[in-house]
Amino acid sequence: MEFFERFAIPHPSPIIYASMVAIGITLLAIIAGLTFFKKWGYLWREWLTTVDHKRIGIMYLISALLMLFRGGVDALMMRAQLATPEAQLLDSQHYNEIFTTHGVVMIIFMAMAFIIALMNFVVPLQIGARDVAFPRLNALSFWLYFMGAMLFNLSFVIGGSPSSGWTSYFPLAGNEFSPSVGTNYYMIAIQIAGIGTLITGINFIVTILKMRAPGMKLMKMPMFTWSALITNLIITFAFPVLTVALAMGTMDRLFGTQFFTTGNGGMDMLWANLFWVWGHPEVYILVLPAFGIYSEIISTFAKRNLYGYKSMVASMVIISLLSFVVWVHHFFTMGQGAMVNSIFSITTMAIAVPTGIKIFNWLFTLYKGSIRFTVPMMYSLGFLPIFTIGGVTGVMLGMSAADYQYHNTMFLVAHFHLVIIPGVVFAMLAGLTYWWPKMFGFMLNERIGKWAFWFISVGTCVAFFPMFISGLDGQARRMYTYSESTGFGFWNMLSFVGAVALAIGFIIIVYNIYYSTRYASRDIGSDPWDARSLEWATHTPVPEYNFATIPEVDSSEAFWDSKYNGHKLFKGKLKEIHMPNNSGVPFIMSALFFVLGFSFIFSIWIGVIVSLLGICACLMHRSFEKDHGRHISLEEVEKTESELRGGK
């Protein structure tokens, strides 16, 4: 019995038991459904073993949306708890667990997955490639991420969730103050997902540098591809720091090392330092792809080429460097000298400059454009003002002397939500709506989409602007309740109303997906938005080889030129096509990682050893396997092409 006791939730409540039942029922329903409709084979052949970047992208997308709802429910519970003074909905321990999982789920498992989803689907198409450079590694990336996410979510019902914040500062996250396994989940689930992300980073750098269509010089790449390149560069250099920090944290918790302890030569602030060495670049990892998406959307719907292409690229390169030299602004109040703080204040303000340049470039692109107010465009237009306010308050926080006042108040919370929501969530919804027809062959309903947009954008403002005021009045973040006399009640009630509006917006999006799946026209051609870059040059639905003949490019808007300026994209003749084989190894290996992670979390060493051996076996298998891919014969290519209305 003792063995099983450790799996119990240390701090149970009816909500948790209810979700245990709900998870159990969902799992059973999925298994029963798959068996009943005889879909196991389909699932395995077409999805679990796929190495196709488009399918991997869609799997990332589905996972990201699931995580969005998981994180969203956390958010609603927090806002509900704070809506009135001295509310009893959650106790302090649950509140701590919920804000922790909300942060981790939203940043690591929602936002990261969402940007990687869109990068996966779009980048190879935009550069005229047949897949990414290492398709099988790509599958491994996804499955590692997926298993990490599942492992993390398991904490809710087995063993208890982490409760020391998404930043998980030591000594609070150490064994002494967080004795439950919650923080082990944090350390290990993020580690597993992080390895996946790092692999993605390398994979996409190679893809973009090596696999561009003939004629696509670096300075002729579409802006989303540029942003993806820079993002993956930052990923590749920032994530190893997280890997190391998490490994050290894991060793502190499991093996009694003293890296982040307060005694025996340990240094607790070293964790904060390493965390933010990764953490600040991470916020730019999130926001740069969004910048790329907006660039595509704004130039498409303003019917103009992007203003200041070169300065857009230059500002992203500068951001990629500066994002690594500002991290100390997250702990100005640690107690280091004024000299250190001044240095990092200056670098922090410097990073606002390239960001500002981009805002002006978008404005100039809009200027004199003939604007079509589609849903993706509305998100882009909504992004500009809200993100600017979020950015400007960031500069306020960047002044170290003033930050002593703002730090860890709701003011900070307002800042980062007002950059992340327009900067990431709006962009992802915009990108999703924009690329949806390419992914699924029909468009999302515009009218319902606009309703969702208004709920989400107004909801964002109503939910987060009041926090500036209550924050300046002294409401600290991560407080689970407050007394009536503080006067925070009104502002928090307002926030709650905004949060509900946001939730309604997301429900409308789900309804839109359902509605459009049922009723939308399937006859939309391959270029429904009259767009400008290569992903629209191939058919819808995209054949597995993307392009029957590789396009040839001589400008950053080759597809536009081919439509209106007489450029010829496809010059070659049809040939047989070489594609990579599917493989079950990435899935199996990641499942073993799941077992490994779980065993680590609960210190079940036999499980650790067995799963590690299994992982090594998978690696060996790959080394000795002779897999030269497969060829799609010319006839088959011709058949597919004519089915998709004849090759161009």
Partner: protein, 94 residues
């Protein structure tokens, strides 16, 4: 015959052995900590460069520009994180 003999690689190999020997001198001879550290840092840096250029062919392909840019980028980040952390946590901490 000249094309067949990998002169550059052999010279590189000899040179890296020399560097190792120099680094070894730090423990063989009695010298101050500062002196020893200086020798180690310099030989380590030269050694790393040598490996990159001679044995990992960083400058030999047509996209060497990209490879080197990546290396410089990595070096930049390593330097700022290490010295920035030292600055924040030790030198600048009162």
């Amino acid at each position: 015959m000249k094309e067949l003999f990998p002169l550059k690689q052999v010279m590189g190999f000899v040179f890296s052995l020399v560097l190792t020997a120099v680094a070894l001198s730090v423990v063989m001879f009695d010298m101050s900590f500062a002196m020893g550290m200086t020798i180690l840092l310099i030989t380590a840096f030269v050694q790393a460069m040598l490996q990159l250029m001679v044995f990992m062919h960083a400058r030999e392909t047509e996209d060497s520009g990209l490879i080197l840019a990546n290396v410089y980028y990595g070096v930049f980040i390593a330097v700022v994180t290490v010295f920035g952390s030292l600055l924040a946590l030790i030198w600048g901490y009162m």
